[in-house]
């Protein structure tokens, strides 16, 4: 790569303190007044042509629009005129700049220039109209001189004047970007030093403002051109109701305008920076100007290539939806207006009937109420509908990102404007409200989350308890079944007041249980043994063993039920004695 060979650049040649004037781009003051052939070609030929071409591109769009309205418009001649007049305007501006005419001479210069342009405009149109029309018109002018200034000629002259002014303005602004020897601060020993230092901005041109002017002209010109091009491509009646169809294809003049415009802005930025560097005596190393141009072209080509790959159409009918919405709104408004008019007319007719003015008149036929607009028709697109939807999604995603980012940058770049806002009382209140809402929402969300967590936990607990409550004995293994029988008896015994204490072993408790159920002593013993075996042994518990335990369980359960009944039967007899004190 270039980094390997010829990469070592001897700066001594470029340093004005060591060897002045040997830099490629010229170091500091050496650049003033001396222009290279490339620079002359750029300033005198390429730049004027570029500006004229840009303006002609706008003129083409304008011509397309006017031609759509009036077929007689000499569009091609108008565009050629704009190009020629723009070139002439730039040349005149540069000439005036160079020759430094007096005001009187400048006025004379401009007057002559305009007479020539007007005559050119007047006669150039006959290239389109033909010689016969010229002969006829000349005859008409002889008869009536006022016919020389017909409306089409005046309109065209005004438009040409506008383009002439734009070309002159652009050229002058571009020229003002260049460094001028007058801007250089004289030596401190020079008598002009004081004068220079007391001048506004120390006699320096506000280049940033000039650059902004160029950019503004470029953007406004572009916007107007796009509007013209757009209007020339759609039917205005369809556009009003947003029912117009898509139009595709390259619009060459628009493409050329933006391409040249961006290159011109790039060159203007280079001129601006270069002038600043020259005024600060900063040496410029290497062929920066050439590289700049090449990089700008490469950069634009790269972006253009990337843009080609992105989708530019959409099939999700945004416009159709908008159109339907507008039609519905119009329909509702019309209905309201008709209703008001109806009421108003009824009242008036009532009064008129009182005055007998309406008698004998013919009844006007009733107009039918316009039907509501039909729902939007599906946009016919070639290819698979899924592919169309995907393309549309990509398109809208990119577009949303682009517009969103643009808004974001716009706000960020102008953040200083919004800094003062928090000081306003209303804004402070709104901010506090917003913070309060955020805090409240956050707290509510936290509370909700906590509650959900608690619910889940309790549900899990219930799920864990569930198998005990709704237990299916058939699904249990013999070991689990035996354990269940024993625990069931423990629960029942606890309900009757002689439950097993946590400190008791099953065998210790067996003695209490057997004493409590004298009718099922053996079964209680059997059940306890079965439980001990199922709980602590490792060998398999057979189904038979579980069945034996089940029999025992039933007996003990029965005994416990009988015991409870006995207890209940004993309690009502004692109660009246306690309450009434009677035997």
């Amino acid at each position: 790569m270039s980094g390997d060979k010829g990469a070592l650049v001897n700066q001594e040649a470029a340093d004005p303190a060591i060897a002045p004037g040997l830099s490629d781009e010229g170091a500091g003051a050496s650049a003033f007044g001396h222009r290279s052939p490339t620079q002359i070609a750029l300033e005198e030929v390429i730049r004027p042509i570029a500006i004229a071409a840009m303006l002609t591109c706008i003129a083409i769009s304008l011509s397309q629009l006017v031609s759509a309205l009036s077929a007689a418009w000499p569009g091609e001649v108008f565009c050629a005129l704009v190009f020629v007049v723009s070139l002439e305007s730039i040349h005149s501006q540069r000439l005036l700049w160079r020759l430094r005419f007096t005001v009187r001479d400048s006025f004379r210069f401009r007057f002559v220039e305009w007479v020539v342009i007007v005559v050119l405009v007047r006669f150039a149109v006959y290239l389109d109209y033909g010689m016969q029309r010229l002969t006829a018109d000349v005859a008409a002018w002889q008869a009536d001189l006022a016919s020389f200034f017909d409306p089409s000629f005046i309109v065209m002259s005004l438009l040409v004047m506008l383009f002439w002014w734009l070309a002159s303005r652009l050229s002058q602004t571009m020229q003002e970007l260049e460094a001028s020897p007058a801007e250089r601060m004289p030596s401190i020993t020079d008598p002009r030093h004081y004068l220079h230092s007391t001048m506004p901005r120390h006699g320096l041109t506000d280049r940033r403002a000039r650059l902004n002017q160029i950019v503004t002209i470029f953007f406004w010109g572009g916007a107007v051109m796009l509007l013209f091009s757009g209007l020339a491509r759609v039917d205005v009646r369809d556009l009003i109701v947003l029912r117009h169809s898509r139009s595709s294809g390259v619009i060459l003049n628009v493409l050329i305008y933006f391409l040249i415009g961006l290159l011109l802005i790039s060159q203007a930025q280079y001129t601006n920076l270069k002038a600043n560097w020259e005024l600060q005596n900063i040496p410029i190393l290497g062929r920066l100007g050439r590289r700049w141009l090449l990089l700008a072209i490469s950069f634009l080509l790269l972006i253009a290539l990337i843009a080609v790959l992105l989708p530019v159409g959409y099939s999700v009918g945004l416009m159709a939806v908008l159109s339907t919405a507008i039609q519905w709104i119009m329909y509702i408004i019309l209905q309201i207006v008709f209703t008001i008019l109806f009421i108003f007319a009824t009242i008036i007719s009532f009064f008129l009937s009182l005055l007998r003015l309406g008698v004998g008149g013919e009844e006007m036929p009733l107009r039918e109420t316009p039907a509501p607009p039909p729902p939007p028709a599906a946009v016919a697109e070639a290819g698979s509908p899924w592919w169309q939807v995907i393309r549309s999604l990509i398109f809208w995603s990119i577009l949303t990102a682009v517009i969103g980012y643009s808004f974001y940058r716009f706000v960020v770049d102008r953040w200083g404007l919004f800094r003062g806002l928090p000081k306003l009382r209303l804004i402070t209140w709104l901010l506090q409200l917003w913070r309060g809402l955020r805090l409240g929402t956050r707290r509510a969300m936290n509370r909700l989350r906590q509650q959900i967590r608690q619910r889940r936990a309790s549900r899990q607990v219930q799920t864990a308890k569930g198998p005990l409550r709704y237990l299916s004995l058939r699904r249990l293994s013999p070991r689990e079944r035996v354990r269940y029988f024993y625990l069931s008896i423990l629960r029942r015994s606890a309900q009757q007041g002689f439950g097993r204490l946590p400190s008791m072993t099953p065998l210790e408790y067996a003695a209490i249980l057997e004493k409590s159920v004298p009718m099922a002593v053996e079964q209680a013993h059997e059940l306890t043994q079965a439980f001990v075996e199922a709980r602590y042994s490792e060998h398999e518990i057979t189904k038979e063993r579980a069945s034996v335990a089940q029999e025992a369980w039933r007996s003990v359960k029965r005994a416990l039920t009988a015991r409870r009944r006995l207890q209940r039967a004993a309690q009502p007899e004692a109660r009246p004695v306690e309450v009434d004190g009677a035997p």
Partner: protein, 393 residues
Amino acid sequence: MQNLLIFIIGLFLIAALFRVDFFFYLLYVLFGVFFLSQIWTDRTLRGIECKREYTDRAFLGERVPVKLHLRNKNLLPVGWLRIHESLPIQLRSPNFFNHVLSLLPKEKVVLHYELDCRRRGYYLLGPLVLSSGDLFGIHTRDTEIPSNDFLTVYPQIVPLAKLDLPAQTPFGSIPTKQRIFEDPARMIGVRDYQSGDSLRHIHWKTTASKGVLQVKRFEPAISIESQILLNLNRSEYSLSRVDTATELAIVVAASIANYLIEKKQTVGLCCNGWDLLSPEPQLITLPPRKGREQLMNILEVLARVRTADQFPFSDLLRQAKLHLTWGGTAIIITGHADEALFENMLLMKRGGFHVMLILVDPQTPFVTIKERAKEVGIRAYMIWQESDLDVWR
């Protein structure tokens, strides 16, 4: 080009309104110009690598060429790059180095500039400020590359031919008239034996040839172990001459150190200035050593040192005694000698040190000071300007 964003939004509206596909294409292009320019500008400065190549030590009056290596590590080219290297005003006028250039991907550029070492010191080269932007004037970025490159300019050295330094340390390399210090390694001849001569000094070969006892004669020699005590306390100099006098004191110290090292003597430095390598002022002490390395150490300290007012010179004198062996010489370089200094010097003298006083900013007539110094047995010199060093040439 900040209007570009507004234009993009406007273009979107126009494109959506007219449903012209080409307008959307333009929208992409313009947004691409804006967005990719930003990315390009951001990446440009991150990919620039800078390196300075130069000799980091120089003597006064030398010109130091500096090569500034710039390399674009990126695969993206740099449209334009403005470099602004800040430099010390003492080394270059104007005190910066500016340049504008463009860099292709992976391209290297070497820029050259020279520094004129007109004043001793320890100078930072840089920082280097890089500015760049896109080709359309939408985004501009600046970045400052912090520098860790320093240049040490040594103080001026005046070559001295003779310096009558009093010293008593025997077995040195400088001949002396005090015959009590004879160096047995330096035989200058023989003489007849006298009563009391050591038998070890008898030169047997000459004795055999002459037939009379001959003893070796040795050259009397001393070793001058010296400590330069440099006062750089601003408050102890007169206000009008503090800068000139302290600089002169540094020149004197450097010249004496150079002289002693050339004579292969041992020399050290004590100073109450501020070494710029230390974060805060503290007493500078270089214990007495021999050799070229010691001279360079002393010169580097003298190059970096600045005046300070934290430590009085009396503190320095107390500190210096610890580093000087008995019989060594304390070379005191200060602005003015008052009674307190004389008391300190007298104490040093009684402690077995030789003292030499060099004044660069006497605030009373030097004759009086010289008389007072003579009374206490100290040699005093006044150096008012560099040419006064001629007394030792």
